[in-house]
């Protein structure tokens, strides 16, 4: 136990700064996991009451966990919500643009097809602040843009940022965490100091500083690149990198703790005795066993990332107009909160739903992969 805590943290830490918006109790419980004995296949299997029948077709721990997850109604429901969200964000806009009647504008006296007026940047000057209708499913905003199209674009942005952040987070966190846990030494020392700094300093402040100062010219440098630079998304690259930089040490810490326990176990010893190199042990034996902790931590972190991206865009530092982001939609609508509350409340509601879905799914995954963490 003392080994795992290491000499780095002189007092119990219950949560890390910058984690304020993480779903209930999760960071703390994950830390507890790190200090608790290893999650091993034997223990997980041992919990099951085995009838002779079930012994015939034995399940791997992963199958066992997935079976538990499938039984968890709330987690599966949240998974459904997330799947719907992702599908809507990716396939929604083209379908929405295709399916719609032509519209005869009274102002310009021209016929506009749905593919134009249902684009998230298109403005219809005489259709401002409308409620939901057959033409504009969720209404229009203060300059006559389709709110449903903008919402789907914002959803896409939130998923894209979350994906980029998680990729960097998992890559850096697993690499550094495994090396620090397996070899110890200076990597471990540097990681510990780095995490101390990150935990003692709100990550959002760092991102605001980074994006606020370097972001002003992002459009000039990245504006010509098709996806990254288009539609005022240029700053998102900075936002994603900033977010990833502030979260990976936490992932590295979880991975390090798990690695410390794994490397003492017999299968690693057996591999070493049979002549496996360090590289083989790490890649073949350690990293596959980190699957559960990485998937739990990153699911919970996605909720955080989505909130942060929306928040940064809300502050005017993320996506720039005419682009769209859930945060930008809220920020655009706050001025009209008195007369058109729908425009601010609708994206807020969507944000809350997706954040809750990821939090609950993370909780469900934790219960499924580590049954003992349940009360």
């Amino acid at each position: 136990m003392e080994q795992n805590n290491g000499p780095k943290f002189s007092k119990p830490r219950f949560v890390q700064p910058g984690e304020s918006m993480v779903p209930p109790g999760s960071p703390q419980e994950l830390i507890v996991e790190e200090e608790a004995p290893a999650l091993s296949a034997e223990v997980v299997d041992g919990k099951e009451v085995r009838t002779p029948n079930s012994q015939k077709k034995s399940q791997t721990p992963l199958q066992d966990s997935l079976r538990r997850l499938r039984k968890d109604f709330r987690a599966m429901f949240c998974l459904g919500v997330i799947a719907f969200y992702v599908l809507l964000a990716i396939f929604g806009p083209p379908i929405y643009r295709m399916a719609g009647p032509d519209y005869k504008s009274n102002m310009t006296n021209t016929v506009i097809p749905a593919s134009v007026y249902r684009d998230f940047t298109h403005q219809e000057a005489d259709r401002k602040h409308e409620g939901p209708s057959a033409q504009y499913w969720l209404g229009t905003d203060s300059i006559g843009r389709d709110l449903f199209a903008r919402l789907m674009q914002g959803m896409l942005i939130s998923i894209a940022v979350a994906a980029v952040v998680e990729l960097i987070d998992i890559f850096l966190g697993v690499t550094v965490g495994v090396l620090a846990g397996y070899y110890g030494g200076w990597i471990d020392f540097v990681l510990a100091r780095f995490t101390d700094v990150i935990f003692a300093f709100p990550g959002l402040l760092f991102i605001i500083l980074l994006v606020g100062i370097l972001g002003s010219k992002a459009n000039d440098t990245l504006g010509n690149i098709p996806v990254i630079g288009a539609n005022g998304n240029a700053r998102l690259l900075f936002v994603s990198i900033g977010l990833a930089l502030t979260v990976w040490p936490l992932m590295a810490r979880y991975v390090r703790g798990q690695t410390l326990q794994l490397k003492e176990q017999q299968f690693v010893e057996a591999a070493r005795t049979s002549g496996a190199t360090d590289f083989t042990i790490i890649v073949r034996h350690l990293i596959p066993n980190l699957f559960s902790i990485v998937i739990i931590a990153s699911t919970l972190n996605i909720a955080n990332t989505i909130i942060s991206e929306a928040g940064i865009s809300l502050l005017g530092l993320g996506v720039q107009p005419p682009g769209s982001s859930i945060g930008l939609m809220i920020s655009d609508a706050t001025t009209f909160l008195e007369n058109h509350p729908w425009e601010a409340l609708m994206p807020s509601f969507v944000l809350v739903i997706i954040v809750l879905a990821f939090s609950f799914l993370g909780d469900g995954l934790r219960d499924a992969f580590d049954p003992r963490s349940k009360d």
Partner: protein
């Protein structure tokens, strides 16, 4: 104990040093040239050189950083680019009292409401009081602060319209004054600002108290026939507070990050609001200064909770 505190203090100095270095480096590599923006439509090579010299921007980067640090040690945060010649101290001096006031009240609310709610929930675990308060805490905690802010603003506007009140939903009253109008201004932002932390404190207090109530010494206290009240308040409650104290420092960190949203949504001219304005105006000295001030606030909060922690928990001395 002293040794422990000194160790923490050195660690925190290291954090501050890292922060100043980061802010400096980011500012140094800022892509836009503030001097050119300052001169506006009348570019003038000589004036540019003079201004660069006046702001110390013609020195090598390391020298600039050292100057920045030395000035910082003299509590001199430099001069603004936007309003030429205006000391940054002046600008921060306007926002800091507001942010401090906001933060102090939010922290007080978190502790004074969050902790008792959590403790009561733990004592009455699994009753309807527990279910309702923990359910509310869960929802508040899961909501991003800015969403909560917008919901509250919407509620205020709705109440104003329905009952003909004139309750303000943005701006801040006079700092540190509490007339009825000031309270009207300040109440909503403070409540929203404190809400996330309040929910967090409540949840943590409940967990901590439940843990303590399972301990042997609580059973002993009950077994020897102490009144339930004595068991809870004299034995359990005091021990349950220990983990909460470490949270206070971290809570300051949350508050600093949350300030940006609260001050933006409620249009409060605090230090976070100044930071955002200065970012728009490319006024880097102000951004650097506010970042350092906010970071020092976080670090100070951490140190404060370390000190409280050592005072409360004698076991720390063993280290």
């Amino acid at each position: 104990m002293l040794k422990f505190l000194i160790k923490r203090f050195i660690g925190l100095l290291f954090v501050i040093l890292c922060v100043t270095f980061l802010t400096f480096i980011i500012g140094y590599y800022a892509p836009s040239n503030p001097i050119q923006i300052m001169m506006g439509d009348h570019p003038n090579k000589l004036l540019e050189a003079q201004l660069k010299h006046a702001y110390g921007l013609d020195l090598p980067p390391l020298q600039q950083y050292l100057n920045f640090l030395i000035r910082l040690l003299h509590f001199d945060l430099g001069t603004s680019f936007k309003t030429i010649g205006r000391p940054v101290n002046d600008i921060i001096g306007e926002g800091l009292p507001i942010s401090l006031e906001l933060g102090m009240w939010a922290l007080l609310i978190q502790i004074c409401i969050g902790v008792p709610v959590g403790i009561i929930s733990a004592i009455r675990a699994n009753s309807w009081t527990d279910t309702i308060s923990m359910g509310a805490a869960l929802i508040i905690y899961a909501l991003p602060a800015f969403i909560l802010g917008i919901l509250v603003q919407f509620l205020i506007i709705w109440l104003d319209n329905t009952f003909g009140w004139s309750w303000p939903n943005t701006q801040w009253g006079t700092p540190w004054q509490y007339t009825w109008t000031d309270i009207q201004y300040k109440l909503a932002p403070i409540l929203v600002y404190g809400a996330t932390g309040m929910a967090y404190f409540a949840r943590l207090a409940r967990t901590s108290m439940l843990e303590i109530l399972r301990q042997d010494y609580v059973r002993t206290a009950r077994a020897k026939g102490l009144y339930e009240r004595a068991v809870i308040y004299r034995h359990a409650f005091r021990n349950a507070l220990i983990p909460l104290i470490t949270i206070i420092g971290l809570s300051v960190g949350f508050l600093v990050a949350g300030a940006f949203f609260i001050e933006r949504i409620f249009s409060i001219p605090g230090i976070a609001g100044i930071t955002l304005d200065s970012i728009d105006n490319l006024d880097y000295p102000v951004v650097q200064a506010t970042t350092v001030v906010l970071a020092i606030g976080v670090v100070f909060g951490n140190l404060l909770s370390d000190i409280c922690y050592t005072l409360v928990d004698p076991r720390i001395k063993a280290e």
